[in-house]
Amino acid sequence: MDAIVAQLQRQYRDYTISLYQQGILDDQFTELKKMQDDGSDFVAEVLSLFFEDCVRLIGNMARALDQTGTVDFSIVGASVHQLKGSSSSVGAKRVKGLCVTFKEFCDTQNYEGCVRCLQQVDIEYKTLKTKLQDMFNLEKQIVQAGGKVPQVDIN
């Protein structure tokens, strides 16, 4: 049993580190982990709310960009601003980076740029969601195997 736990923990550690190294997560995600008590689902809950936010805001942006007439870039920009904020607060580094670029395209009223960013943001948040799900699953497996989820030191 211990060997299994140790292997899972190693996997978990490697996987988590890779998410940081790929720039998918940043140190704000580490901060969220710091706020979580053992056994609580705080990080998972916050991220779940974040993903709901993504769906809602991306929907807003898509609708605002899907006008046959004139696009109101300020409306798009308002949603991008919100997404930038919440992605920053949870450590979703790539999503946040895309929002920065997206915001610039809104400010310069660059339609193609906005549409491209919208597609990328959509892909990126979904990617994050899948990877975090894998990470949380590993945590569950470790606990089920009788082990403790290790604190992963990113630095």
Partner: protein, 257 residues
């Protein structure tokens, strides 16, 4: 957690205050913070940050709700609202309707709450914005995303407690005055704040006078007279090895390290 925009109230009724409960232990470590942010994710995060540092939190989603909670949304000052105990107000800057700056002004204009420290949070590092808020009386300006160290620093400011003794006198608890800190802000004369402790411990080192010292009580007992003035304006950030004094000025880009 306050997931909706509603308000979890800690209002006290006038009747409660008339009950003689001087013998009950004092609620010293129960710091009550009013957090204002239109973003649900940010609200959850700031609430957690505050809870983890032993604060009681009321989180609302707009400046209007905040004013409503404080009883400042109508002209007549109700006696009931005088009893509301708020130790710190922390608000986002960019909010639809009423900005954090506008909320700050309203709070500073009120007689009941002007002494309560107000901290502004923003995702944007705009110096003119920061200056404007500080000039208007903001205690501090935090750049988002807010970190645990930021909140711990704020928390360490709120360790000056007014102790209501049975004879009705207020007494400030003496604090550890060994810390040396620098500040970039003009400040009125203030009691020194204790050195920032890395480990989250809500009890500062107190003199033996502090007979009522206890860890955070699970059920707060209302026995202070409900006077809203709780602390003098805490001094601005002490420096530690963890953060540079210019964090507030935030010369680094948000999100990068």
């Amino acid at each position: 957690m306050a997931r909706d925009g509603g308000v979890s109230c800690l209002r006290r009724s006038a009747e409660m205050m008339n009950v003689g409960i001087e013998s009950a232990p004092l609620d010293l470590d129960e710091v009550h913070v009013l957090a204002v942010d239109d973003s649900l994710v940010d609200r959850i995060v700031i609430e957690r940050l505050l809870r983890v540092t032993s604060c009681k939190v009321t989180a609302v989603d707009s400046g209007w709700r905040a004013l409503e909670f404080l009883g400042l949304d109508n002209e007549k000052a109700s006696a009931e609202f005088d009893r509301l105990k708020v130790d710190l107000i922390i608000t986002d800057y960019c909010m639809p309707g009423m900005t954090g700056y506008e909320l700050l002004k309203k709070i500073k204009e009120s007689s009941n709450f002007r002494e309560v420290p107000v901290v502004i949070m923003s995702s944007e590092n705009v110096l003119t914005r920061i200056d404007r808020c500080l000039e208007e009386g903001a205690e501090d300006f935090l750049l988002k995303p807010v970190k645990l160290a930021d909140v711990k620093r704020l928390r360490s400011h709120l360790t000056t407690k007014d102790v209501k003794l049975s004879n009705g006198n207020k007494r400030k608890l003496p604090e550890d005055s060994d810390s040396v800190h620098t500040t970039s802000l003009p400040a009125t004369t203030l009691p020194p704040s204790p050195p920032l402790t890395i480990l989250s411990d809500s009890s500062p080192s107190l003199s033996p006078v502090e007979m009522f010292s206890s860890s955070a009580l699970s059920s707060p007992i209302d026995d202070e007279d409900g006077d809203v003035l709780l602390t003098s304006s805490p001094e601005s950030s002490p420096t530690t090895e963890e953060e540079s004094p210019i964090r507030r000025q935030k010369l680094r880009s948000p999100g990068l390290d």
